[in-house]
């Protein structure tokens, strides 16, 4: 059975990862490249967009980082793919691996649930996945363009993981829980990470214009929603074909 689970996830992840790479080419990637122009320009040439005062940053106790800026004492940036085709190929590879990872989790949950599934039901599972790893975490940590100001990385990653786990548990209780109290427990779980609150920097004023940053939030969420709907559809269709449930 483990072989069939992996087969479903590999095929669904490969298809969705390649598809989202094409969509990103028109939605998120142009904004990332545009933002990097501001990120790499010296502050003087930015016409008021770079408002972070290096001295002021010292006052925050070193907890404020401009994206791509290295902490004092860190090594210079290492290998990176060349802009253009090489970068696009590495992004597509990372997309496919991430998609296979998400597909494995989705397939495991669908299999564990043990109810019949098809493409349409798969879309519902996919939308749940979107809520767990994109929509709910975006309330605390909105999608960031390169060059935005953010709190320390490990703290944000920890909160992201907490939020994803609590949202998965909350949705599970809400929609699949057999007892009458479970939807209420689910709602409390959904709210929990946001009551705790995501780590935020103590200042604002990244190098990227707010219009561009705002556009990126929408582009990222819409692209990810389409990705998850397709991943769910592919997983559901393949799970039925492989008689997983």
């Amino acid at each position: 059975m483990i072989g069939r689970i992996f087969a479903v996830a590999l095929l669904a992840g490969l298809a969705a990862g390649l598809a989202v790479s094409v969509v990103q080419h028109f939605t998120t990637t142009p904004i990332i490249l545009h933002a990097e122009e501001f990120e790499n320009k010296p502050a003087a040439s930015l016409g008021g967009h770079a408002r972070v005062d290096p001295d002021a940053r010292g006052l925050t106790g070193g907890r404020l980082y401009l994206a791509h800026e290295h902490a004092p004492g860190a090594d210079a940036e290492g290998w990176a793919p060349e802009d253009g085709l090489e970068r696009a190929l590495y992004t597509a590879l990372a997309n496919v691996l991430t998609a296979i990872g998400f597909a494995l989790v989705l397939t495991a949950v669908v299999y564990m649930r043990g109810r019949p599934v098809d493409g349409r039901r798969g879309v519902l599972w996919g939308i749940a996945g979107f809520c767990v790893v994109s929509l709910a975490p975006a309330l605390g940590l909105p999608p960031e363009v390169p060059g935005s100001v953010a709190a320390e990385l490990t703290a944000r990653q920890g909160w992201w993981a907490l939020c994803a786990a609590a949202t998965a548990g909350g949705l599970g209780f809400m929609f699949l829980g057999p007892r009458r109290w479970m939807p209420w427990a689910g709602a409390a779980l959904l709210a929990l990470p946001h009551v705790i609150g995501a780590p935020h920097p103590e200042g604002m004023g990244g190098a990227v214009p707010p219009e561009l940053a705002a556009h990126f939030v929408a582009a990222s969420l819409v692209t990810t929603a389409a990705f998850w709907a397709f991943l769910g559809f592919a997983t559901g269709t393949l799970a039925r074909r492989f008689q997983l449930t």
Binding site: I32, P81, L104, V133, S134, P143, L153, Q157, S220
Partner: protein, 58 residues
């Protein structure tokens, strides 16, 4: 006329738990590898994916 039979083998939740857990574990491992690893090379290779999927980056 063809009659399609769909053979379903009923499994218990306990039987499903082990393969489901293994797949879940491997999937989480993959996502952590591409989206969360602190290695510079992995970060730079997966940079645009991390931003597009809105994983915490940098």
């Amino acid at each position: 006329m063809t009659v399609q039979t769909r053979q379903t083998v009923r499994t218990t939740a306990a039987e499903r738990a082990v393969p489901a857990f293994l797949a879940l574990l491997f999937g989480v491992f993959l996502v952590l590898g591409t989206g969360f690893a602190h290695s510079d090379a992995i970060h730079n290779a997966a940079h645009d994916t991390r931003h597009a999927f809105s994983f915490p980056c940098h």
